[in-house]
Symmetry: D2
Subunit: 325 residues, 4 copies
């Protein structure tokens, strides 16, 4: 699991926050003699290098783009306004931990999930990256992009935005290989709806689409339908504009989805806000340590979340046996 | 409730299927003397004018863009392959029925949901339509668009596609007015994740985004953050690029979301498919009654689904009292 | 399924209410060509021969032993006070319908559930009835007792109570045969806790116990523990004081449980109550049609409820395959 | 909270196991500046003084009355067979921790839960103990009994059983005072069914009953119904044979329930078992540290579990506000 956690943090100065996140996971329960016992697996990562001091100010002056204001209303002012709380990107550490287990389960039946930065700011990756390539390239780049040529351009875009105290957003794509057809529950627990729900719980996500997604809305039926063909004696969909999901069920093709991340709301530039106690307008300048773009850290998180949802579905479908030998 | 059901079907020849859907709802339980009793409200709409005959062929030859193939795999060939089943757009009738009740609950605390066709094919509506305008215009147009000028162009695009045996997709936007701030459960039942989950359960949905959505991914923090200001003595967000959700909680601004619908998969053009019993490639020509674009019918469905999710959250938050006077 | 519903009502005058309950079940969805389709199975039984008139009075004068008063408080006076509502024994018809399906699933893997009246009033059945005997005898007696000698005494006790305008309670025992060991989820969804939860939802149930139950509380460890032995080359528990459940998991022995039913609260005798509108004490005389003992009708209901819970667990454990051939 | 945990362990030699359970609770998340933050409250108690060595033997030779055998089957032999696992009484520490929070919530709206040993072996407590008396007496006795005269007899019974290497069971009663009427969800989440479910999850519980419970099964309607009267201008039930629940809803009277605990299965006497690997019968002698009766430790656990369920219902009903001042 530790390697998964380490993947969350590119060791490239400037790309991510300078906060030191060692993120050492400790297992408290659920394993014994190198195997799971059936009991819940409890893991803990201690928050170290925490500096709550800069957060004191946001108690009364909400940061634009953050949950400070609605959280204050929701919890009657008693919300924990310090960093590292439930509205923090730190929570994604837990998702990556759970994802590490889900990936192991999926690997036992041959399913693999790969994610990568499809766009960062205005820089786009190639879209037809091969599985082998993704496996090799993504984590060798600081921006977690599978396209060797786009990666340095993405990095440059981030550094330039950071230099002027600004931030960038981007799109993460995830691909799930070798998911058998017919997975999902029609109507209320469909494969795409459960994936979308889980993905929207990642901080900073503003959009989720499958296959041709929003482009499909501008297309025509004759261009967007995936024909069926026989390949190596098997029924298959020739193309994959559906992104591997039809009627809430997997089609047998790769699950392909895109997740839109907004630009990091924490920027060094002066912003307008309000002191909610005195109800007076004011300016806010953030000085803490922030990632100028969340996408590089988000790539393994998206991978983890897709893995968790798929592992649940595979268990539910009976494809992952209750007891692995 | 009946008016809500009737809104599902534009009475404009050519725009929607010629199938006669009377959709008369009957209440079986849960009301007494004009009030709810606390018991589950059971409603039923009988499927009339059903012609299962054309569906016989899809049992063995799955239609591209439909769930026929994965459903066959999922249910071992015993799935009900006739029209009107769980993978059919007919299921949205139930969503509209439930939505009618949810809307009444929301109206009791001043929340209103309005949806409209934002794009159909390549025709776009204006995006800054006022609440009053939406209320007046949307259901007076055959395509359920709030923009009087775009509406006839959208209608024309649909008729042209239909003429050549093709179909169009589009984007539906929904706006929820007067949702108080702080609604939602952080992390796992966030407001946006529950809305996304519910929306992806509508047939033909391929993408969901909030506020600036996928555009945010190409923006910068300084441009995408919504500043806070004081208006009429109250703390508010000046702009609404967040679409009314931050950290999974409502911000106090309107909830604004876009839903991408793919073009109707049922088209009259000849398509490639496979006979899954003989495992031979074949051609398929559909002759049944189909909507050349699902968007007009989808508008009240999106409205209903957003209403259902919001009503649940308002009950959960205690803002809708258990017993309405 | 119809035979199951018919078993609910002994055709013996005096033993059960004279209300005519035909209870014809109609299947609305979920089956096709004699098989289930994977869609929810919706069944409906129409309430016929309903006479709401006598219930008008209980609106303001709650019947002792009934939910009239708490329901009135709970629903602010808008509860449906007529007979046949959610607090009525009529709801058990739905449990029997669902149980009929559950029994079919369980039968497909060799599990059988048999229930019978263990006691009615002060009359007790023999406790060591053989499986074959139960199968043959129970539904041949008007009181649903497996013991041919006790049955007429139970019947007599009921008729005597009815004659003086009073009612009797009793205990129903259920036995589940051939449940494999290791079924259940420890701690929060244990086999016994799920069964108990479901059973307490049957109207008039006041107690649930497994195996030696409350008697175990007066016993000693050396007398109450079930030793393990080898029988026909297999590990087994020699005795079954545990009632087939240890630590929330099935032991491999029959699941044996007892359910205590209180005497029917509706009696012809004059009772004290209060007009809750005028807040004045008053007397109440019930004249409607009532069962002088709920036990005979409760036997198939307990059988159904145990079947439903066990079928859920068997599906969850993977022992019932997703698609039955 | 610590006082609640300390109540779990009577400091009277001979009555409970000599294992040293310090049970110091540490709060990891969910509180800040002396208040809850709305985030989940995570608490941890480290298992100290653990000696797994004696448990090695039960891996292959299941202890009668324990979950060893079904757990082995359930988890394919990979279950954690050491003490302190999920089938251990140690898990009740977590229930007491959660119960401490639930009690605080209930106290904020005036609800109090008191539990006590009603019987231990053949010794019974008086049944009409007053609230004040229970509050004062129960935790001043080693056996957690509210009756000063029965307490030493219960203690004596336990010591005598222990002396001959045997164990005793007993019944715990819990009373919830000042629960308003109308709490509970009819049919599937009724107040009694949720309480029963939660209580059956406590290790060693074999029966649960409300009010007159199994005695009601031998009673008559005219004797078992609780009449309604006017007291101090209010509608009330005069007696409480229902144990405060009718139709799954609270009646306004105290919730009264009894829980049957079996005798501790771990006894020093020689018992018959089977080596499940060699499939040979064998004898088993337990030498570890065991409680000769679980009832004294079970009293605060029952109190905690009832508190947890009631707190959930009070939140659900809106009677406990989302934000306490």
């Amino acid at each position: 699991m530790q390697p998964e956690l380490d993947r969350r943090i590119p060791r490239r100065p400037g790309i991510t926050s300078t906060r030191i996140e060692e993120d050492k996971a400790e297992i408290l329960s659920g394993t014994f003699q190198g195997r799971t016992t059936g009991a819940p697996i409890t893991m803990i990562v201690q928050n170290k290098d925490v500096d709550p001091q800069p957060y004191e100010r946001f108690r009364d002056i909400p940061r634009p783009g953050h949950a400070d204001y609605p959280a204050r209303v929701r919890y009657g002012g008693f919300n924990d306004y310090r960093g590292g709380g439930r509205f923090s990107g730190r929570m994604t550490v837990a998702l990556v931990m759970a994802g590490a287990i889900a990936k192991k389960l999926l690997a036992s039946i041959g399913i693999e999930i790969l994610a990568y930065a499809l766009t960062i700011g205005n820089v786009s990756s190639k879209t037809d990256l091969a599985r082998e390539e993704l496996r090799k390239v993504v984590y060798s780049t600081s921006v977690r992009c599978g396209d060797r040529e786009a990666a340095p351009l993405m990095e440059k875009a981030i550094l330039e935005a950071a230099e002027v105290g600004d931030s960038l957003g981007g799109v993460v794509r995830a691909v799930a290989y070798d998911v058998p057809p017919g997975i999902g529950e029609p109507l209320f627990d469909s494969l795409d709806s459960e994936l979308a729900k889980a993905l929207f719980n990642i901080p900073a996500v503003k959009g989720v689409e499958f296959g041709s997604g929003f482009d499909a809305a501008r297309s025509r039926g004759s261009l967007n339908n995936d024909p069926l063909v026989v390949k190596e004696g098997k029924v298959q969909f020739e193309t994959n504009r559906a992104g591997g999901v039809l009627g809430g069920l997997s089609t047998g093709r790769e699950i392909v989805l895109q997740v839109a991340f907004k630009p990091t709301p924490s920027i060094r530039r002066k912003q307008s806000s309000v002191n909610v106690v005195s109800v007076e307008e004011t300016k806010l300048e953030l000085t803490g340590r922030h990632d100028p773009c969340v996408v590089p850290k988000a790539v393994p998180v998206v991978e983890a979340v897709v893995s968790i949802v798929l592992a649940d579905f595979m268990i539910r479908s009976g494809k992952i046996p209750k007891i692995l030998e």
